[in-house]
Amino acid sequence: MHIVVCIKQVPDAKNVRIDPDTHTLVRQGVESIVNPFDLFAVEAALKIKDASNARITVITMGPPQAEEALRDVLSRGVDDAVLLSDRAFAGSDTWATSTVLAAAIRKLGNVDLIFCGKQAIDGDTAQVGPETATMLDIPYATFVKKIESLDERHLKVTRQTDEGVEVWKVPMPALITVIKEMGEPRMPSLRHKMRAKKAEISVWGAADLGLDHEAVGLSGSYTQVVRVFSPSRRGNRVMIQGSVEEQVEELYKLLKEAKVPGL
């Protein structure tokens, strides 16, 4: 079985600041990390590898330094890594990113399963997984917390929804996006770390993927970030404390004072 995990290198959210003048991320001095949700996706793939002889390839689209993120994941036990990097990819929105990832997965060929994190902590769109699956014309399941079972042609997954949980049987090849309940990502091991340090990482650009420059980067994007701003604070927040009964009573009083219609 061949599994692909798509990851993204993101700025460590703990240290991110927005420049108040330019409204852009201050990246200087901010450490880059593997998107935490993607590490749960890596863990999902490694769990399957623990129980079978699966081969795992990790891919990422990003600048040359995104290679660090790939080596981090290799040090946790993933077999191979491919960096999708090209000046032409700069400015890609989720659609253009998915175009590149889908092309890379086609180029890898014979892929049975694709794992993504549910979303990246910098953009928070949760679109790239489903878009990539749609472009590959394969089924996908989002917000998966557990892989129940796996055979040659299907996998059974539990997905978390706002209403509860759903158990789906999905034919393969399929794309799965993963939430943190999948399990704590494992630490690197010394053997894998030594291998990761030396590993040859292939770099594929637009030409390698047979993609027109028009299809990727800014020109291949349907959306553009026009402006980033910090929302101004609206209204006052009131914390209501006490027992449930007291809280309900207090809330009712406040709503009534605010002349909410119907009260």
């Binding site: 494992r186 630490m187 690197p188 091991s189 010394l190 053997r191 770390k193 030594m194 340090k197």
Partner: protein, 389 residues
């Protein structure tokens, strides 16, 4: 400071430091409070390949030496020496097999110890035999294809948690110091049981129990080396393991120094951060000097010990004394720098100070180490014919 470590050694440091920071620091206070054995951390260290750093590749290890092991122990110890002691004690239990075991014994036990699948422990101390090792009472009597062990070992680190025990017993009392032998005893062997878990001042995440042998039958092929060389095995094991104990002291000292400096930079009294006062600066300076000197001693000694030098016992004893005394001083001063906060359990330094004390006691008290150094000096200078006057 640059200690000219290899790429691989730096990777060991980096990986162990990552585990210490991400996995150990968040749980150390709770494990200490609950006196809970750190099984989850042991599993993580095992998966990271850190249990077999000093074990040759042919037995499933990483093929490194004492320095590699010391680097990992130091980083783990920086977060918690209760956990680091449990980790390092598995090495102490493995060394008798590694140094003197038959090929068969090595192949049978070392791969599981190297992978961390099974923990190991070292059984020597008894109620009447601490510093005076020669007065041990546990006996092993040959009976056909077996030895029958009787006696009780006391204060055994990893006791009850480990599955593989290297145990010293008297095989022939009439031969005095040449009458002791080492055996591998497995958890589950008939007649082998454990006493209650001891309650301790520090390193409370580690487990300390009695090993009780009542007509415990072990197959004769579990004898390590041959009969009569038990004390030699014990001494050679300590030569290998004491730099590791030294690394526990270095890591603990560094952990305490880190917190003391960070606190001193933030804590404001009389309108200034307290690090601006010389009374505090000098304390921190002395803590830093001793910690770095202890580290330099350990790294140099660890490299030296991998060459099996003739002065191994003296150097091993120096490692243990200097780092243990350093850790006690540095952690005590760290509590002083933090003042009342340092004395409270809300900050980690009170635990570090409680933990430090054991480093001057276990694996040979620091008094015994000084005896060894003194005796070795006497022998060494006895061989030199030249006068220095």
């Amino acid at each position: 400071m640059d200690y000219f470590l290899t790429e691989e050694q730096k990777m060991i440091q980096e990986l162990s430091a990552q585990i210490a920071k991400e996995k150990i620091r968040p749980v150390r206070a709770q494990l200490d409070e609950n006196e809970e054995f750190p099984w989850e951390i042991m599993r993580i260290l095992a998966q990271a390949d850190l249990f077999g750093l000093y074990i040759p590749e042919e037995y499933g290890g990483m093929g490194g030496g004492i320095l590699e092991n010391c680097l990992a122990i130091e980083q783990v110890a920086q977060a918690c020496i209760g956990i680091a002691t449990s980790f390092a004690a598995s090495g102490l239990g493995a060394y008798p097999i590694l140094l003197y075991g038959s090929e068969e014994l090595k192949h049978r036990y070392l791969p599981d110890i190297a992978s961390g699948k099974r923990l190991s422990a070292f059984g020597l101390t008894e109620s009447g035999a601490g510093s005076d090792v020669s007065s041990i009472q546990t006996t092993a009597v040959r009976d056909g294809d077996h030895y029958i062990l009787n006696g009780t070992k006391q204060w055994i680190t990893n006791g009850g948690e480990a599955e593989i025990y290297s145990v010293l017993a008297i095989t022939d009392r009439s031969k005095g110091p040449r009458g002791a032998s080492f055996f591998v005893v497995e958890k589950g062997d008939p007649g082998f049981s454990f006493g209650k878990k001891e309650k301790k001042l520090g390193i409370r995440a580690s487990a300390t129990r009695e090993l009780i042998f009542r007509d415990c039958r072990v197959p004769a092929d579990r004898l390590i080396g041959r009969e009569g060389i038990g004390f030699i095995i014990a001494m050679k094991t300590f030569d290998k393991s004491r730099p590791g104990i030294g690394s526990l002291g270095v890591g603990l000292s560094q952990g305490a120094l880190d917190i003391a400096v960070e606190y001193a930079r933030k804590r404001v009294q009389f309108g200034k951060p307290i690090i601006s006062f010389q009374a505090i600066q000098h304390k921190l300076a002395d803590m830093a000097i001793k910690t770095e000197a202890a580290r330099a001693l350990i790294y140099c000694s660890a490299r030296h010990m991998d060459t099996d030098p003739p002065d191994a016992s003296k150097v091993a004893a120096m490692c243990k004394v200097f780092t243990g005394d350093t850790a006690m001083q540095v952690t005590t001063e760290a509590v002083q720098v933090l003042g009342g906060y340092g004395y409270m359990q809300d900050y980690p330094v009170e635990k570090m100070m409680r933990d430090a004390k054991i480093l001057q006691i276990y694996e040979g008290t620091n008094e015994i180490q000084r005896n060894i150094i003194g005796q070795e000096l006497n022998k060494e200078y006895g061989r030199i014919k030249e006068s220095f006057f």
